[in-house]
Symmetry: C2
Subunit: 318 residues, 2 copies
Amino acid sequence: MNAQIITLDTIRDAAARIAPHAHVTPLLNSRSIDAITGATLLFKAEHLQRVGAFKFRGACNAVWSLDDETARRGVVTHSSGNHGAALALAARTRGITAHVVVPEDAVKSKVAAIEAYGATLHYCAPTMAARDATAERLQRETGAELVHPYKDPRVIAGQGTAALELLTQSGGVDVLVTPVGGGGLTSGCAIAAHGLDPQIKVFAAEPEGAADTYESLRQGRHVTDMVPNTIADGLRANIGAINYDLMRQHLAGVLVVSEEEMIAAMRLVWQRMKQVIEPSSATVLAAVLRYREHFAGKRVGLVVSGGNVDLDRLPWVA
Amino acid sequence: MNAQIITLDTIRDAAARIAPHAHVTPLLNSRSIDAITGATLLFKAEHLQRVGAFKFRGACNAVWSLDDETARRGVVTHSSGNHGAALALAARTRGITAHVVVPEDAVKSKVAAIEAYGATLHYCAPTMAARDATAERLQRETGAELVHPYKDPRVIAGQGTAALELLTQSGGVDVLVTPVGGGGLTSGCAIAAHGLDPQIKVFAAEPEGAADTYESLRQGRHVTDMVPNTIADGLRANIGAINYDLMRQHLAGVLVVSEEEMIAAMRLVWQRMKQVIEPSSATVLAAVLRYREHFAGKRVGLVVSGGNVDLDRLPWVA
């Protein structure tokens, strides 16, 4: 797939396409966290997006990009997380079927959420091979369109609308930071940011325990075999090839943060901003706190990726 | 003190007085909670107010109502909770001293917060008599002005600005619900609401374990001797005489909720709205869920009182 097909115009089209369905999430700020960091932080509140995560943008753009005949056959993906829920709800907005492949050992509450949004669930063995095979079989049998969580250009363009909104609402920033997992959010947002203002420095924030983006850029080759070990369940994927290409082209750097830094940043946002954000989302503030030299005195846009967290088990009450 | 001195105009004056210092907090809504309740709920997000609670409005109005000579002698109150923090910060905005009397057994983290906002702390024995005596002594010795947390008309008028904003932002509601503790918020908001639209039904939501407002209105006399037993630490006070008079005049009813209902409502807001609200704040949604007959099909304004909660001890993880 050619990374160059995604442009600022593609992202603007995506924004128009999802406008009837997605929320324009607010930009939040905190005087006290600004004082702590010495920067002006603008938090794009995607935890307030539908399904509680930015993932709805990409899924919604993919679903509404389909022609009627394709759409009628439904969509399929494999995900036991926010993308599964997002595709289920996006399909519902169009009145079509979403097939979601989930591993047998997936967390029950997350699978229940995906089902509650109306998806048809398909269980498979808990291996990547089984997930791929099951998704492929469903494509063959039903004619459903595959919507990959982060490699699909329609998904990448959809995620880019978060930065498009952020930059419009903020009137511009010096630096933009997004969490990086598979790379859909980061690459889409980087294209939007540089399309509007090539001077913006775009950083990705990544947990040390899932630092395949950091390693890929450091080694100059697409690292695909890292085994993640982090509580940030939204950031465990290895980046896709298209995402790697886009990130090589756009990123000023990848900022790795420890689990402790991520948890402390998450707690700080809950305490000072009164916002429930998930560990993945906290990577961006953790990066600002750790790498002050990139942010001091700057206007910084931060994409808060989601707020779906297990309220019965908080990471600081371990 | 005469309750009639507080009018819509007094509250409008308070709004103008605090405007340079207080946040205009947003109105939040939730599709999924609307679906659960069958009503249109508009949450006035005072957990996003400065110091994390509506209390800043009243304290700020009191501090900025003082003439220069009085202000120079400072202000004094007794409170180990949100009012103490609010008065400390309000005093700081005017560059004057806030004396805050706290009982020796107060929660350390709360006292630390009050101190961090710049208050001068005065410890006393953990009895109401000792608190009153210490505050009176400080008034005598320093000439500081007493700012009572809920009986002071300047405080009541300040709290009323929350409803004034809510009604302006919402374009009107059928019903308004506020939590009730000492009664400053409820009485101020009721005056604002009925000043703008006498048709609005104003309810107070109160924990069963601190139902002195409910009992006062039921028995037709000011009940002042209830010993509170509730996790809603912001609602443990018995209402003041001025507050009782105002509530008799304005309230459509007091809706009591159990601890379990309050905790469930708090969890629902965290989960669906991604907002960190304290137990006191959850009484209003708990009331809407329990007394559906008052709310179904209506536009309902809910004042979320605050978001200062101990993140290390969540009430549903007992």
